[in-house]
């Protein structure tokens, strides 16, 4: 095993071990089941349709929200970065709305639309929009002026500059925005399902917790955690591939 992996594995094992040991003593409250119970629940339920339905519902919310939110965010960010007037028009609004946690819109949305998936998607999309907007804004502004000069001197047209210069140059920012947005979108989707009783992992979690099924509650938390880690890993891979040329990922060969 690689030495870098050894330490985290050791600490995790120690933590789980002491949790298991403590739950035998009665020190932990009943709401915290032994690790072995959680593992047993996961083992028994990992193949069930009910669990996978919930996972796929949450994933669908995440995917649609991320696609819509990230696209809008990227477009608005790019427009703000390249057209000064757009920046002046929108900057105040962005500053005002960005810090508002999306959950405050939930009650109104529930009243208007009911406990339906669209509510989760809209709110998660709003959450995904901000990191993408900011990263794109910074990314487009950060295009090296020497590179821009080069493109102009050699007569590249505006669309050519967009595709060959601006887009690749801002790619690192784009991926950072995408990873942050993905994480936030998943988080918001699960939270909105939970609070708004919309079918998905969040709602499943709320149901189990309400019925005192603590092994199942923790089991779902583990699943949600793995989902987050998995999605992040996928984006990191994509990033590594797309940015092979970038100084952070270069492999020198001479």
């Amino acid at each position: 095993m690689r030495p870098t992996l050894l330490l985290p594995v050791l600490t995790t094992a120690a933590l789980l071990g002491s949790w298991e040991a403590l739950s035998g003593t009665g020190i932990l409250p009943a709401e915290v089941p032994p690790v072995s119970d959680i593992a047993a629940w996961l083992w028994a339920n990992i193949g069930t349709a009910a669990l996978w339905t919930a996972v796929s519902q949450t994933l669908a919310h995440w995917a649609v929200a991320l696609a819509v939110g990230a696209t809008i965010g990227a477009l608005v960010g790019a427009a703000m970065a390249s057209v000064p007037v757009v920046n002046e028009l929108l900057l105040g609004m962005v500053e005002f709305f960005r810090p508002i946690p999306v959950v405050v819109y939930l009650p109104i949305m529930l009243l208007l639309l009911g406990a339906r998936p669209v509510v989760v998607v809209v709110l998660a999309a709003v959450a995904a929009l901000w990191p993408m907007l900011l990263q794109t804004l910074y990314g487009v502004r950060d295009v090296d002026p020497v590179t821009t000069d080069t493109a102009r001197v050699f007569g590249l047209t505006t669309p050519q500059r967009l595709v060959w210069v601006t887009a690749p140059s801002m790619l690192p920012y784009f991926f950072t925005g995408l990873r942050i947005a993905s994480t936030i979108t998943l988080l918001v989707a699960i939270a909105m399902e939970l609070i708004g009783a919309v079918p998905g992992l969040g709602n499943t979690l709320a149901t189990y917790a309400g019925n005192g099924r603590y092994d199942a509650t923790y089991g779902v938390i583990v699943i949600a955690g793995l989902l987050g880690v998995g999605l992040n890993a996928v984006f990191e891979r994509l990033e590594r591939r797309a940015l092979r040329w970038h100084s952070a990922y270069r492999t020198q060969h001479t």
């Binding site: 080069t150 001197v153 060969h253």
Partner: protein, 271 residues
């Protein structure tokens, strides 16, 4: 013919105004090799940016064959000082060199041939599929020169192209540029703060004062060609010319008309 008449450029306005160029007039004839030499901060880059249509002068005119330059003309290509920022790290050497040809040659085969010829000319034939960042500094600057050549310009502008490579590479690149000029007949306008380099390369050296800059003098370089790093630089005439240019620059620095006490000492010395 490229001509600059009473060019003035001031950055900013009011209290923050920086007068970079006060009054520059010069012409560059077809096929000529002109070097502009001046201390750091004299406005050399500013001047080149005005010439290639990237920057609008505050007053004065820039004309190319009689027509005013308002945007980047297709007859002019540039080699920038900072090759690592001017080459695009996301494209291979071949694509970097070929990129500006897209709008010029419709056929892919034509473009590939031009790129091949340009890479040959700078001695990088085998490196088309590498990325710029996989190459040494000197090689990267050769890629940038190849890109300029492939564009088939009438005039190649070079902004301190060899300032950030080591001495040996620098001498090699100077000779490369001279050879390219002989082979292609392209007009060269090279900016440098190195007096030896200017005298070694040029047909004519335009000496610029410190900021706010004016043309101090235009010095005809009557050294024989082909030039050679060792024999040319050993000629008494070479020493005479370089001393003359050095004296010119020192004098304005000491006059106080263009005070740059921290710059003049580096003039003419190789770093």
């Amino acid at each position: 013919m490229l001509s600059v008449t009473n060019l003035r450029k001031t950055y900013g306005s009011g209290d923050q105004a920086v007068e970079a160029i006060r009054d520059m007039t010069l012409t560059v004839d077809k096929g000529e090799f002109v070097c502009i030499v001046g201390p750091s901060g004299a406005g050399k880059t500013t001047m080149l940016r005005c010439l290639c249509g990237l920057l609008k002068p505050s007053s004065g005119t820039v004309t190319l064959d009689g027509a005013p330059v308002t945007g980047p003309p297709k007859e002019i290509a540039s080699v920038f000082q900072d090759y690592s920022r001017s080459l695009m790290p996301w494209f291979t050497v071949r694509r970097n060199v070929g990129l500006p040809l897209r709008n010029r040659y419709r056929s892919t085969a034509d473009r590939a041939e031009r790129v091949g010829t340009a890479l040959d000319a700078v001695g990088l034939s085998g490196f088309g599929d590498r990325y710029p960042w996989q190459l040494s500094g000197g090689m990267q600057q050769r890629v940038a020169i190849a890109r300029g050549l492939a564009y088939a310009p009438e005039i190649l502008l070079l902004d301190e192209p060899f300032a950030s490579v080591d001495a040996q590479t620098r001498a090699d690149l100077e000779d490369l540029i001279l050879r390219v000029r002989d082979d292609t007949g392209v007009t060269m306008l090279l900016v440098t703060h190195d007096i030896d380099e200017a005298v070694y390369l040029a047909d004519r050296v335009v000496v610029m004062s410190a900021r706010p800059s004016v043309v101090l003098e235009t010095v005809e370089v009557d050294l024989p060609r082909p030039r050679d790093q060792v024999t040319t630089k050993r000629l008494p005439r070479f020493a005479e010319l370089r001393t003359h240019v050095l004296t010119l620059i020192r004098r304005t620095a000491l006059d106080g008309s263009a005070p740059t006490p921290d710059h003049h000492s580096t003039i003419g010395e190789r770093r």
